[in-house]
């Protein structure tokens, strides 16, 4: 079965449902959302809104196939075709993540023992960018994000929370992903760095990326958002 998307739609969730059954805690069921539909177009930045626990991160993770929705589909425009991440084989999901779908999680989780500069360079070299050019681009971005050059040779495990978050952002923004999923990318950053990240997001969406993001900071929301989607209405009674 091949699905289709309208010309400039990059991502669409259809009748998406997510719940958790905690089997080892008395089988409690948490219904997070059900029958959820949303659509994001090229150059749009959709803001997920709703109180803590509304399911914003769960939705974003479901769009990345990191969480497994109970039903529905997540259609992604991947190169010249449309892939349903809820039905795709794992290797296809990984292909979509490599080239099309970038995700900045709330916390950095990386391969241990790999130097920061390599973490930021690798996404480019695996896509065939010349290693010298890739390193150059990685360095430029790390500098822009104010990671001192003295730290580049170190793995980020011992970095401060804000430094780790900026490495996390660099690893995603070093590529030009057509679709970006951002879970509070500015949360642990100071004013200057928050502004830099806001600029990076704005540049990405002006260049045509479709973005879905969660931002607690109202200023960031106002600066980058083009539309908002409120999850509190979708929350089902447990």
């Amino acid at each position: 079965m091949t699905s289709t998307l309208e010309a400039d739609v990059m991502l669409r969730a259809e009748r998406l449902a997510k719940s958790f059954v905690l089997h080892n805690q008395g089988g409690v069921t948490i219904n997070v959302f059900d029958g959820l539909d949303l659509e994001v177009r090229r150059g749009e930045c959709l803001i997920l809104a709703g109180p803590s626990g509304a399911g914003k991160s769960s939705l974003l993770r479901s769009l990345y196939a990191n969480y497994k929705p109970q039903s529905g589909s997540v259609l992604v425009r991947h190169e010249d075709r449309v892939v349903d991440l809820c039905a795709a084989e794992p290797y296809e999901v990984l292909e979509v993540r490599r080239r099309t779908l970038g995700y900045v999680s709330q916390f950095l989780r990386v391969i241990p023992r790999v130097p920061t500069i390599d973490l930021v360079t690798e996404p480019l070299t695996t896509r065939g960018v010349d290693p010298a050019e890739a390193r150059e681009r990685a360095g430029t971005l790390l500098t822009r994000l104010r990671i001192p050059e003295a730290l580049w040779r170190l793995p980020p495990a011992t970095f401060s929370g804000g430094e780790q978050q900026r490495v996390n952002i660099a690893m995603t923004f070093v590529q030009d992903y057509p679709i970006l999923l951002l879970d509070e990318p500015t949360a642990s950053l100071d004013v200057d760095n928050r502004r830099t990240v806001t600029d990076l997001i704005t540049e990405a969406h002006e260049a045509g990326a479709a973005i879905v993001g969660i931002f607690h900071d109202a200023e960031v929301r106002a600066a980058v958002g083009t539309r908002s989607y409120d999850l509190s209405a979708n929350r089902q009674a447990a």
């Binding site: 958790f20 059954v21 905690l22 089997h23 080892n24 993770r61 196939a65 990191n66 969480y67 497994k68 084989e89 794992p90 290797y91 999901v93 990984l94 989780r109 391969i111 241990p112 023992r113």
Partner: protein
């Protein structure tokens, strides 16, 4: 043309193995694609080794089939082919890294010969070439070149595992099976070995099936994860999805009983 990258390299269907009346594993089916790394986790006795042996041509399953896409003939039933052909396949296109290096190495010949031997087995007769390939591979697994003529029995556990890896990869296999490749080693040695495996397997695009107790190992290495319990697969999917949003009660228990990686 014997298939595109999208075609599976290995197809396992309804595989069941009984040891007499005792169940080893039951009704296991999966596809493995070129370059894909599949992790298999599960408690002791859940059938991981049994499954790996059945899939890798070492143990004829009681039921079900294993089909491998060969370079020349396309998909071939692993247990339908002649013994000689299966052995050739295992020596050339496949590699097997055992938990116990003694099962995977020849302890009575030198490190260099352990690697060179695999090349001779596929018909390489040029001594100079064999020697240089062996040296190259021992370097790639970070072996001390001063030890190349020593017997594996004089090596540490970590060195023996690295030698096994060199011995297996020298023939440029398309598929490598590993059963607990890092267990029994010191934590720091484990870490180094894992980095090595990740780097080599990734850069060479080798498909891999890795059996392990260690969820940290699969988080790091595998694209896909299969969780076994009581001989059966209880959950199977994208590694980070299975670990971050486990569906089965047993997987939830397994994930919650370890520290976050």
């Amino acid at each position: 043309m014997t298939g595109s990258v999208r075609d599976p390299l290995l197809q396992v269907r309804d595989l069941t193995h009984h040891y007499g009346r005792h169940l080893g594993c039951r009704d296991v089916s999966f596809d493995l694609h070129p370059g894909e790394i599949l992790g298999i986790v599960g408690e002791s006795g859940s059938g991981k080794t049994t499954l790996l042996k059945c899939v890798s041509g070492q143990l004829q399953p009681t039921d079900g089939s294993v089909s491998y896409r060969t370079r020349d003939l396309g998909p071939v039933d692993v247990y339908g082919m002649s013994e000689a052909r299966r052995r050739l396949l295992m020596r050339t296109d496949w590699g097997i890294v055992y938990q116990n290096a003694r099962d995977g190495l020849r302890m009575k010949v030198s490190a260099g010969a352990n690697v060179g031997e695999r090349l001779m087995a596929i018909g390489d007769r040029h001594y100079g070439h064999i020697r240089s390939e062996a040296v190259d591979w021992l370097e790639r697994v970070e072996m001390d070149m001063g030890r190349i003529d020593d017997m594996p029995g004089t090596f540490s556990g970590g060195m023996q595992q690295r030698l096994q890896i060199a011995r297996n990869l020298v023939t440029k296999p398309r598929l490598v099976f590993m059963d607990e490749p890092t267990s029994g080693l010191d934590v720091s040695v484990q870490a180094r070995l894992l980095d090595l495996i990740r780097g080599l397997v990734g850069s060479l695009g080798i498909a891999c099936i890795v059996v392990t107790h260690d969820l940290g190992v699969v988080r790091l290495l595998s694209h896909r994860l299969m969780v076994m319990k009581g001989g059966q697969v209880v959950e199977h999917g994208l590694t980070d999805q299975v670990l971050d949003d486990p569906q089965h009660p047993y997987t939830q228990l397994l994930v919650s009983s370890i520290l976050p990686v």
